[in-house]
Symmetry: C2
Subunit: 140 residues, 2 copies
DNA sequence: ATCGTTGCAAATAGTTTGCAACTAA
DNA sequence: TTAGTTGCAAACTATTTGCAACGAT
């Protein structure tokens, strides 16, 4: 369960920019996109560029330190929690929460033989719903 | 099970462009993107513009005549089969096939109470795997 | 010295939009 | 004659890339 502190590649330097990006993604529960991370990191590193943020979000994910989310959005979102889990998106406000659908992995493995002859390696699941706040606000 | 021929809105005209786009999406099993549809439709309507294709893919989906896919791709894909079903993408060649994971809906409903207080309305599932052709081609 | 990394700016890809002309009821 | 639709082109958004300068080993 320990969060990796060290990257996989030997020649992957954890520069101040990368550390700040990693911390920004880890410290929030909001599943941010690149623009959010950019604004957040600029507080401590005002000269960082958006290109560097994009570059390093991808590289950090490649190193296994963060995860790219599979939301149905046209912008990429990122998650500092790298254990396998899924997400639910509020269709009203867009807020994202983590969900663990334990029974799902089994259900999917059980259905694998129906998968048109494909060998099934994994899945991406994203639930849609209404968050507690929007329910309270009278959204149906 | 009948495929709708008529759109939901009264003032939605099934113009030649729209009919051609609809037929193109329905006639193929390849789950095409806008560029593919554009090229296909240009055979019969050489002057159609890409903007019209984009516009009408969205409108046809809004009318319930086609579906937008929830693949993990940065480009939108479309499906003429509008009954609820999911998809599996080959991680080698990108080919998309339909899958029906019957047990899934129940499994997800059963897990709904764990969904961080959200009211669960639906889900998007996309399996990843290796297609028969790539398996035969020696891909692991 | 080397080689990964950065900031900047330009480029790219996919998609959307404004608008005048067109078209069917 | 009106309201929806089209083709065109420009605009837009998210992201990627080329490159010279920088910096840690």
């Amino acid at each position: 369960m320990a969060v990796p502190e060290r990257a996989n590649s030997t020649d992957f330097r954890l520069t101040p920019q990368r550390r700040a990006i990693l911390e920004a993604v880890r410290e929030t529960a909001c599943h941010p996109d690149a623009a959010w991370v950019y604004e957040r990191v600029r507080r401590s590193l005002p000269n960082i560029s958006l290109g560097t943020v994009y570059r390093n979000l991808g590289l950090l994910a490649q190193e296994g330190l963060i995860r790219e989310l599979a939301l149905d959005d046209q912008v990429s979102h990122w998650d500092g929690w790298i254990e396998p889990h899924d997400h639910i998106v509020c269709i009203h406000c867009g807020k994202v929460a983590n969900v663990e659908v334990a029974a799902l992995s089994d259900a999917i493995d059980g259905e694998a033989e129906h998968a048109a002859g494909y060998r099934v390696l994994g899945y991406r699941l994203c639930l849609q719903g209404i968050c507690p706040e929007c329910q309270a606000g009278g959204k149906s």
